[in-house]
Amino acid sequence: MEVETIVTEKKELYTPTISEIVAVETLTETEKLFEIALPGGEMLNHKPGQFVEVSIFGFGEAPISICSSPTDLPTFKLTVRRVGRLTAGMHRLKEGDRLGIRGPFGNGFDVEAFKGRDVLFVAGGIGLAPLKSLIDYTLAKRDEFRRVIIVYGTKNPAEILFKQDIEIWQQDRDIEFHMTVDRADAGWQGNTGVITTLIPGLNLDAPETAVAVVGPPVMYKFVLMSLKSKRIPDENIFMSLERRMKCGVGKCGHCQINSVYVCQCGPVFNYPFVRSLEEAI
């Protein structure tokens, strides 16, 4: 603790890298897809399930999951739902505009735990965005996985994301795709009902199925119950949890669930660990 003992190396924890939006696509009334390039063709080097902190000066920062696979180079993609300050600011940006990026942060999915197994994706609402990075990764390396099953639910047909991808998934015979909406509208011909209605009908090799679940907080409890009744072992289940986040680097305290910093040890957790945290779900 003497005067001379501390020497501090400068590391940029809180300053963003100014990056360029190379494409914007409107997915729904409230969601847009942004394709972003770091300066100088630099790679983000992320893992599926990780997130970045996006900033617009004057508007602030927000954590957003990376929804493209690390195999899609050199850019990366974000799906953003307009809910407040930063996200509304983002929705006004166009191709060629710039914004700030920090990250990638968090642990991401442990892809090794999925390899050589049947893979079941359960996505609720905007939860499809973080899962899509893992889905695309799985499809890019299709041989390394056994069955690929995608279960997706939204509130209504207007909220369905990635319609083009879904069309491909529906036709691909290597993918088992199931979808439902809570409330149908006039043109809807598919399933109606909450997402858990799709799970009992699945024919699963329970011990050899690895599951990735992402959705709104209320969804987890019910999906976990249905997975349990399908006898999926808890340790095969991985889920991504959302919390308020500011710093992304384990300092600001906002993301804490009991003793765990979601921005550091998460956002992806293995279910047995989640069960040990009183505040998690």
């Binding site: 004057g58 508007f59 602030g60 407040g84 300050r85 509304a88 600011g89 006004r92």
Partner: protein, 250 residues
């Protein structure tokens, strides 16, 4: 980019907020560069202008006010309530707890029948309010924050925590240490804790945090030596439209 059209309207208030606005001094010129102030008057106008942002002061206390505020709302994209009277009913609303006839008698004397009046209400009781600048007088930094945010096209960031947070951040001596009582622990921050900074207790002019623990607050005031009646009066001084659970406490 064309400048946003901004208007100011005044209802029943103590005029304290008007004065405060003029106190913006150095900022005023910069503000005028960013916005077009199109309306700065009291009377309803038939020219039916449309406004990007309407700032409304004062509480709603007559049937004419009700008509006027509906009209302003129709013409405004964003409506911001300014000051305790507009946001919480303010001191004006205290008259609600007095018999109406008695109030009119006191205020207007023999002319009382010329002035129909209704219970005093905050603006939000009549029309949708998008943002609020709290305080009596309204807090200037918060007004500027909201104005700047709206010009930039972003949602303002408004605190929902206690004045104590600002008070402790500037390391003021807590007035509880000098034997006073204080409403800072339950009052919404945003004023920079100006009263405690100047050795005065916070009288709650900005209204309360959204999760106010009313029983806890009464218990604290009792510990500080206030009788229950006095404690309730203190809590309701600026906020009779909030804390309705204290209605009828004698």
């Amino acid at each position: 980019m064309s400048k946003p059209k901004v208007a100011f309207f005044d209802f029943a208030s103590c005029e304290g907020c008007q004065l405060n606005k003029l106190n913006l001094e150095n900022s005023l010129l910069s503000i005028l560069e960013l916005v077009d102030i199109v309306e700065f008057r009291e009377a309803m106008d038939d020219r039916a202008d449309e406004y990007d942002i309407a700032f409304v002061e004062g509480s709603i206390s007559t049937p004419t006010c009700v008509e006027r505020i509906h009209d302003i709302r129709r013409r405004s994209k964003i409506l911001v309530a300014l000051g305790a009277c507009a946001v919480q009913g303010g001191i004006n609303a205290l008259r609600n707890s007095q018999p109406a006839e008695w109030v009119k008698e006191v205020v207007y004397g023999d002319d009382k029948y010329l002035f129909p009046s209704i219970p005093v209400q905050p603006v939000s009781a009549v029309v949708k309010v998008d943002y609020e600048v709290r305080g009596c007088p309204m807090s200037t930094p918060e007004f500027l924050h909201i104005l700047k945010s709206l010009i930039l096209g972003r949602k303002p960031e408004i605190f929902d925590h206690a004045v104590c947070v600002e008070c402790k951040s500037s390391e003021n001596e807590c007035v509880l240490e000098t034997g006073m009582f204080c409403l800072g622990p339950v009052t919404r921050a945003g004023c920079g804790a100006v009263c405690p900074e100047n050795g005065q207790y916070c009288s709650g002019c900005r209204g309360y945090v959204s999760n106010i623990n009313t029983d806890g607050a009464l218990e604290m005031l009792a510990e500080n030596g206030l009788s229950r009646l006095e404690a309730v009066k203190r809590l309701r001084l600026f906020c009779s439209s909030e804390l309705v659970e204290l209605d009828g406490v004698k």
